[in-house]
């Protein structure tokens, strides 16, 4: 049975082979918004501006990164059992002058990246629903991948388990 592929959230990114985040742009001020702001431009003084949908740059520079050493609480849905730590990246898009968070694709560890690295946007399964009414369904989300990264260089670092009283 073919698997269905749907966005984990509607209207935040395209589902192309070369996916892009979808934002909006305040026409008057030139300010971008992600997630897409549709109510009103938040640029002070430009509340009457038109907001138009725009696709954001597919690549950017790594502003910072961290990992999820412990399994995040719900509504996060763990994709592996036992839990595998994953990297979270903050990537700066040059044209839009905006920093956007995203998970890194599975297998990228902090040893693989340095602040300033070139990153590209890809789509990956966030979680799957094998029992969906119209067949097995993969819910996809945007993730960041270091450009030129081809696979795990070493075993995943960091601890896993249950947080003991951390924030």
């Amino acid at each position: 049975m073919p698997r269905n592929r749907v966005a984990a959230i509607e209207g935040w990114f395209t589902l192309d082979d070369e996916p892009r985040l979808i934002g909006t742009k305040c026409v008057d001020s030139g300010t971008y918004f992600f997630p897409p702001e549709t109510t009103m431009s938040r640029a002070p003084g430009h509340s009457t501006s038109e907001l138009v949908p725009v696709e954001l740059s597919r690549t950017g520079k790594l502003w910072s990164y961290t990992n999820a050493g412990y399994k995040p609480p719900e509504p996060y849905i763990a994709v592996t059992d036992p839990y595998e730590p994953f990297l979270i990246a903050a990537v700066e898009l040059e044209a839009e002058k905006i920093v956007v968070l995203g998970q890194c694709v599975a297998g990228v560890t902090s040893a693989d990246v340095t602040v300033g690295d070139e990153m590209e946007l890809v789509l990956d399964t966030l979680y799957s629903d094998e029992d969906a009414a119209d067949g097995p369904t993969d819910h996809v989300v945007w993730k960041w991948k270091p450009i030129g990264w081809t696979g795990p260089a070493n075993a995943a670092s960091g601890a896993s388990g249950t947080a003991e009283g951390g924030q």
Partner: protein
Amino acid sequence: MVDDVSIIGVGMHPWGKWGRNFVEYGVAAIGDAIADAGIDYRDVQFVAGANTMRNGYPGYIAGATFAQAMGWTGIPVTSAYGACASGVMAIEAARQRILAGLCDVALVVGADTTPKGFLAPTKGERQNDPDWLRFRLLGATNPTYFGLYARRRMDVYGATEEDFAAVKVKNARHGLANPYARYRKEYTVEEVMASPVVADPLRLLHICATSDGGAAMIIASNEWAAAHGHSDAVKIKGVSTVTPTFPNTVIEMPNFATDSAAGLPVPDRTFKQAIGDAAYAQAGIGPDEIDVAEVYDLSAALELDWYEDLGFCGPGEAEKLLRDGQTTFGGRTVVNPSGGLACFGEAVPAQAIAQVCELTWQLRGQAEGRQTEGARVGISANQGLFGHGSSVIVAK
């Protein structure tokens, strides 16, 4: 500059993981603050409660909850919520009431009972709530953001994981004799570095826990204070509860992205800098005059950011200030003499009030075992979810 108000009583319930009703902690703290002020609860003319989100409806109406727990006296109440800044929003409500001449004596109180583990969003399928979505789509916890700031600090300023560990070691030492601290245990840099990674580069012992606790203050007009034996009370000189200025180019909890700087000019000062600036401006006091500070070390690395954001040193100089011992006893500006969040863990609505309680004890010379010698001016600072932050400046 704004007129002062007097802090005539402070009290806290010890922080811990007691698992009891948050109201108990608040009532205990109120009792201590009332006794410290030498007044009767019936003297209180206004209650400002800081809310908790994890204890059902009584937590959302903290002002009324505590007014009822103390025995209704017919006075007006307010309940404030501003994430980590909730306590100072309550202080500000009480101060405004006094400065407006609407009352002479007000009670400020906050208390919390916290679950174990990561702070998690409200349950349910809530696709319009960024705080819910960041867990679902990113798996981003609060330490995720702390980790991003810490890594950025390492990259931009050359901070090391050992520097972050040294903050924890310092604060753990500060809090050893604090009867209100939850963790009273000394750590070595090696022990901190051996704890598991939570949010690379941050380890478990770099990140604060969540705790139960309660804190309360009695504040009064200077006239009322003087007429009731408190003419030398510690004074509140400045209160800041500012929000960021657009475009905010530093990623903020629980957001998915920063504001874009492609359209409008970036403000001269970051949000965290603006928090302290507003308090300094209101107080007419500068960073050089600060003897003691209680800052939000949600992570050890964030304490270093505060040194710079509060003007104790220039950008990139925080590690040197720490290594030179300038932020511990005997140094220029003692930071987190209470032990900070490292020794307390965060009891959200109580924490910003607890910071001011500690500063009050420091300025009175009553901080036994953790006293900053000759402290005359103190500042608190905190930052939390959704663009909330606060700072209070107090002076003798």
